[in-house]
């Protein structure tokens, strides 16, 4: 599946990209791509972020096993707070 991956927050410091297109069938595949391409520290950062597929948190889907479809958008977002 060709998906678009968007990097926000501190993950962008590793990828130096705002977004890229890659082939991935699950969120695990995306995380694996980040590990291979940008290193273990990038993976650690990615894993502690909010991960959304088409704007929906993977916590509401199947976490890292969430399957992806063609043209899906995967976004990595920083955790914030306030109120």
């Amino acid at each position: 599946m060709n998906v678009t991956v968007k990097y926000r927050g501190e993950l962008k410091d590793f990828t130096k990209l705002s977004e890229e297109t890659l082939s991935a069938a699950t969120i695990s595949d995306v995380l694996n791509h980040i590990k291979i391409t940008y290193g273990k520290d990038a993976l650690k950062t990615a894993k502690r972020m909010v991960i959304a597929v088409n704007g929906k948190s993977i916590l509401l889907l199947k976490n890292e096993k969430t399957t992806l479809s063609d043209r899906d958008i995967v976004t990595f977002l920083p955790i914030c707070g306030g109120g």
């Binding site: 927050g9 502690r48 909010v50 991960i51 948190s57 916590l59 955790i79 914030c80 306030g82």
Partner: protein, 627 residues
Amino acid sequence: MKLPVYAKVDLTSKAWETFHISEEYFKKYIGGKCLAARLLLDLTEKGIDPLSPEATVIINTSPLNGTASPSSSRFNMTFKNVLTGGIASSNSGGQFGVMMKRAGFDGLIITGKAEKPTMLEIVDGTVTFKSAEDLWGMDTEETQQKLPKAYGKIVIGTAGENLVRYASAASGERMSGRCGTGAVFGSKNLKAIIAFGKTQPEVAHPEKFKKFVKKWITFIKNHPMTGDSLPKYGSAGIVNKANASYALPTHNFKYGHFEKADATSGETLAETRLVKNNGCVSCPIRCERRVMMEGKEVKGPEYETLGLLGANIDSDDLDMVLKINYMADDLGMDTISLASTIAFAMELKERGIADFGVEFGKTDNLPEIVTKIAHREGIYSDLANGTKWLSEKYSGAGFAMHVKGLEIASYEPRRSVGMGLGYATSNRGGCHLNGGYLALLESVGVLSIDPQNPGAKAQLSVFMQDALEAVSSSGSCLFSAQTFVPAILFKMGPNHPVTRFIGKVAVHVGGVVNLLLKATNLICFNSLFLLPHAESLHLVTGLKMKTGDFIDLGERSFNLERMYNIREGLTTKDDTLPERLLRTRQDTNDTSTVVPLDKMLPVYYKTRGWDEKGVPTEKKLKKLGII
């Protein structure tokens, strides 16, 4: 021990006198909103009109204000809520509280109505009545520019003068936003209060305090929330997470997700409009955004404003959010109530009930409409009365998004049911903070305590409401309490199996939390990892203050506010939510996407030690020392 000294001011007779807080009251109620609730109960009669001369506004500080305790510049205003008829407490950053204290007063108790526009000047333990006729008609920015730079200030703008029911008061660029503070000032012809002084607050254990403050600041700076994400994104950073959790109010709370939400997110704000971040006096967090708006550097919007002027009106127009945020502050109006009232008017239009010229997704005419609301021009005077009033005039109570009359903040409770319970039981109405802010632990933070499961939400709400009540009463910003979420969770992230496991089991800890609430004397220690404010209060005042005592202070405050509401006629019927949140599923295919308030409310009352009608029992009030 130095006891607090207040000035009691009568605007009608232009007279003032010193008002001493007794040792008993100081030890029991400390300061801020807790002490102010006690005073409001003591000093006012039942049933007065909040905008009448008889209405009283208490503006006060706490022992930590003016000291080096982190994030401790918040001052409090307590008064009869213009929107709900119950209690209002509204706190604000800015210089005023610190300066009032340096000028010799820990608080002001203001009643009466001045014959003509008036300003109070507080200097060297004296209150002076001054004419403000030359300031009347000016908005908050211009008014403050005309006043001495070195003074702490509270002022109102056009909206307060015109008694817009959700008018705010400004101190610098910080707003005492909610519940109609500005309208109360306006009703009294009170345009401004200014204060200046140099008296430093007393600290009972100065050396220990100095060392403790240093340790606490280091702790705050090293915590991922207060040391990294809040300085980087401010509260604005919540937009995308709330949206991903379907907890971002959209289309007047009809939905919880907006496709274009990223356009008004904290990340987009940081990437495209941010100039720098800034902070209040004594605050190491520095969450304020400085942004460019039409070529001018201004204070950026908070999460609530981005959510309610973005997704909730179907808008992706970030520049318009910045503009309306600036205009609302300048005219002196609460952005939450303003934006929510506009969203309600948009739905009235969509349903063909009333037409105020506002439509979902259309923003170009909003600046003109906001100005007309502040001036109460023509039909826009209706919008100046808030959502509840509008729904009573035009119908639409089921989708009028308020609780007790105060518009709900920007968290969709059908994806954060504990927050729904918090809104329903908050003493000031639809407020997330007074409601215990469980959304942070359910849907918008690192932890997700099963957002649609009511388990343990009653007990957690009570605990969080009391904790936040105590932090406010200490004069500290609530953001300084967010370090209680363990840093390790941020290192693991929301998707880590351990974080998810905690989220799953936490719905079963109700019994444990209940026991803890009943035996706060067991929390007979202080820790940076819990609520460091307790130790700070102890070192500044010399009073015994362990974490358990601190939680008790919060519980006392929450019960006092509840007693005020009951005295003013509010009942269990007011502890509710709009029909949309109780009966209409957010996801039509998911039966759990409503707020099961009927399941949580009885447990909540029981946990609080209230009877089935939500009235604090005599036993509870005696235990808290209220009677």
